[in-house]
Symmetry: C2
Subunit: 205 residues, 2 copies
DNA sequence: CGTTCATGATACCGCTCGGTATCATCTCAT
DNA sequence: ATGAGATGATACCGAGCGGTATCATGAACG
């Protein structure tokens, strides 16, 4: 049960690329399929097939589909924060530049051909059952996002940092949806400009 | 379970409320269930059951589930534009007031306890198949929304009406998602203030 | 060597899905 | 009273769903 974490097969010889474990292959295939086709649209059979594994390996590595979904979203969440930190890092002393870098990076990311917005936001809409284990991830992710935006807006010296932070939060979320509905040349193309206008218009303390 | 709504058989007498047709009951039940639980999460059996009808009646009135979904979204779309027109009507000569009224009305709407955001945006995320008949509704709805916002921003005298319109578009979409992820007291609570800041900060021609 | 442990292969479970066929019933306009 | 149209009731279909049991294989490591 639960985490095998079996991790890589090391052969002694240094550089021969070993085949990833069944767990890892299943995990990667699931993330991709869930993101591309939607969570409810993807069955465990197709995940196992796409991973070049069997359904049994899936159920040996994960408790069930719901837990696999939650696990995938947790990975997306951590990936997101790594991206956030890396984007913000060069502007540690300049909150305005940090914010703009975030919006610029998201804008750029969303120009990718197959972008389907935010996997966590999508999951929030798709999974309406409050008991689903993924809901905790959705909540935590969004709370943390709100907290970090508020922090940056405070450092910016915004008089009403909460309002500015929430406004920027709405823009980010909106860009994810809009990227899906109207594509890369839709309103999402103006995400950065929208953020900049809000930031520069916000009264300072 | 349902109410059976066994309801009265209408007598000739003029004002006794007649039971709606099976088609209408099915349509209403479908709209509600799709919105509340998600499209993929709802089966045709439960729709028929909730409508106090049978699956056969469903398939006599609609070509299939996909078409029923598209039909429901078309109704949501028309409902939305009725709401839009009614909100904007009192401010025919004041585009700024019209825009603010829209955002104020959306903010108010989203305070409702069971709000699940925009049914069309949710469908856009849930239905990843390009061939789904609902996709045309999604596209048309969002294009028209963008067009109307741009129109209002032009009337406002904004120097770059497209940017302002897209920014407001992002806010609206973002509020729908945010309402779902962080609730009525999340960032969506500041939707109106965000819009106001953007509108008043936009340079005029 | 032999053991262990991950994985594959395959068959199976009960359930629900979207969709259809058939026949009975009920209401209404003629 | 009768015929027509709408609806209900029920049984069915093949397919896919999430999930499990069983046995075989194969590589790693003492």
């Amino acid at each position: 049960m639960v985490v095998t974490t079996r991790s890589s097969r090391e052969k002694k010889s240094p550089e021969t690329a070993a085949r990833p474990s069944a767990r890892d292959r299943i995990f990667d295939a699931a993330r991709e399929l869930f993101y591309r086709q939607g969570i409810r649209a993807v069955g465990v059979d197709s995940i196992a097939h796409e991973a070049g594994a069997t359904k049994m390996s899936l159920y040996r590595a994960f408790e069930g589909k719901d837990e696999l979904v939650a696990e995938c979203l947790r990975e997306s969440r951590e990936e997101f924060w790594r991206w956030w930190d890396a984007t913000v890092a060069p502007h540690a002393d300049d909150p305005r530049a940090a914010l703009l870098a975030l919006f610029e990076a998201q804008t750029r990311k969303q120009k990718a051909q197959n972008d389907r917005g935010c996997p966590i936001a999508n999951a929030a809409i798709e999974l309406t059952d409050d008991a689903h284990p993924a809901r905790e991830v959705v909540l935590d992710y969004n709370r943390e996002k709100r907290r970090r935006l508020h922090e940056l807006c405070s450092q910016l010296g915004a008089r009403d940092a909460e309002i500015l932070a929430d406004s920027l939060h709405l823009l980010m979320d909106g860009a994810c949806v809009s990227r899906i509905t109207l594509g890369a040349n839709g309103p999402a193309a103006n995400l950065l400009r929208a953020a900049q206008a809000l930031i520069d218009a916000a009264p300072r303390a």
